[in-house]
Amino acid sequence: MKATREAIPAVLTELAKGGADIVALDADLAKSTGLDKFAAAFPDRFFDCGVAEQNMIGTANGLAAAGKTVFVGGFTVFTVGRAWDQLRNVTCYANLNVKICSSHAGISVGEDGATHQTFEDIALLRMLPTMKILVPADYWQAAEMLRAAAALDGPVFVRIGRPKVPFVYDESYKFEFGQAEVLRPGADVTLIGCGVTVKMALDAATELAEDGIHAEVINAATIKPLDEDTIIASAAKTGRVVTAEEHSVIGGLGGAVAEVLSENLPTPLRRVGLADRYGKSAPYEELFPFFGITAEEIAAAAREML
């Protein structure tokens, strides 16, 4: 178990040591993102913008326009939500090298509750031309995605979370941008997850296998651009698809998969996720069952279609 956010200081420090021309900004949350550790190692390349997310993104835009690759922290609900206009009208419109590695995305924030949880960040960013969206399933994938973010041209969002999450990969993992990964082959139903729901989908597949149901599990790690070919090919094979995410079922992974399948290969689909409602305070382990985002719910959704 390791939190995806722990990859932030590790990878940024590694990049800067390797000579990458990066700068990091935060909005009074450097202790949460781990950027305080990057700041300790590279004090001239870190600026804490204080509680002012709009100015953080605006400053990042200026740094990027002057040639820097800028990583921005903060909490995702504020970095993406409050500074959305700054991201829309300058970062993305001008295709600037601003990489969002804010933390505490999703409902896995837990006790802070609805104001600090995000269920709409993927939807908000998906519709911005030039934005790339990466959702890591574990620490190792997060680290690889942060490296990829630095190398990619233009804005990138890596959806980082707060809690320690189980490993799906190991240290040898290599991320391929734009590639959905088939983690387990199967012919009866396709389970597509991203982030923490990848492990849930794998557990659901194990549960279904006990009943002789062979589920194919896909990690749609790159939400934008979505790997349409892999998803369509799997749907063509299984004829049934379940998506799962700690995000609203509107506009996120489920929405994106629904768009792709509806246009290319209409396929029965169930979307597991937040059902058009706000989050709430509780230990995050209790929130997932409360909102119906679990391996059991994914398996149940699959059985509904069989």
Binding site: V23, D44, R45, F47, C49, G50, A52, Q54, N55, I57, G58, T59, A60, N61, G62, L63, A64, A65, A66, G67, K68, V70, D85, Q86, R88, N89, V90, Y93, A94, N95
Partner: protein, 286 residues
């Protein structure tokens, strides 16, 4: 711009006033032809932009991406016509391109796009963001040990945006003395007088309280603008803001000081009359 450095003050004044007049004519012709655009804030800023682009800033159309160039951030992006006119007169884009403002086959968007127009240092249009961008450019220069300065033009109505004051705090905190902000203070915004909509005064006290060096000038006195810019360049340890008192739509008698001309294009007759008024060199000592 070495050539204008050798001019006497009176010659410089005459030269820059003529340049500003040319910018104003371009702006009205562009907006008139497009039948849309923002003449008010373009004309109020014409003298400030003329001093920056025809004398004060160090940059050249020969290398619009020169990492050492001075930067200009048009935070009030709706004044795009005056920036495009200055870039065209400086050779960044052909003069004839000005005719395409806001048209489908043109790169001259209603608000400036850094990826379409050489010389535009950052994309703008959504108000309140330019000062933050200028701060970011100055930080990048500091990291790289470059000497360039960043000039950012802000509207007075735009100063109602909270982000301006976030950036003001940030700039002072980081002692960004290579940033010079200029407020185009014409006291008019779309819905009326700034002082009637949401008062921004006392602007001088506000900026001072936020830790900035504050200068006040007549925003149509090119020599006063140049002197203020020079003083700002000499400041160490804090950024400077120049509060430039201006007149909206300055230079056209029947358009001056009217909020209606914020975002309305002159019709053919109005354009003809406006260009007539702008055809002669203004009186010395205006």
């Amino acid at each position: 711009m070495a050539t204008t450095d050798e001019l006497s003050r009176s010659d410089l004044k005459r030269y820059l006033e003529e340049r500003a007049l040319t910018l104003r004519r371009h702006c009205l012709e562009m907006i008139g032809r497009a039948r849309s655009g923002h003449p008010g804030g373009s004309l109020s800023a014409a003298d400030i932009v003329a001093v920056l682009y025809f004398h004060h800033m160090h940059q050249s159309h020969k290398n619009p991406r020169d990492p050492d160039r001075d930067r200009f951030v048009l935070s009030k992006g709706h004044a795009a016509p005056v920036l495009y006119a200055a870039l065209a007169e400086n050779g960044y884009i052909p003069l004839r391109d000005l005719q395409g403002l806001r048209q489908l086959d043109s790169k001259l968007e209603g608000h400036p796009d850094m990826n379409k127009v050489p010389g535009v240092d950052i994309t703008s249009g959504s108000l309140g963001q330019g000062l933050s961008a200028a701060n970011g450019m100055a930080l990048a220069g500091r990291i790289d040990g470059r000497d360039y300065r960043v000039y950012v033009l802000i509207g007075d109505g735009e100063s109602q945006e909270g982000m301006i004051w976030e950036a003001a705090m940030f700039g002072a905190h980081h002692k960004l003395d290579r940033v010079t902000a200029i407020v185009d203070y014409n006291n008019l915004q779309i819905d009326g007088h700034v002082s009637d909509i949401i008062e921004v005064q006392p602007l001088k006290d506000k900026w001072r309280a936020f830790g900035w060096h504050v200068l006040e000038v007549d925003g149509h006195d090119v020599i006063a603008i140049e002197d203020a810019l020079k003083e700002a360049d000499m400041m160490h340890g804090k950024p400077t803001v120049i509060l430039a008192r201006t007149v909206k739509c300055k230079g056209v008698s029947f358009m001056e000081n009217k909020a209606d001309w914020h975002g309305k294009a002159p019709n053919d007759d109005e354009l003809r009359r406006a260009l007539e008024e702008l055809s002669c060199v203004p009186e010395v000592g205006a």
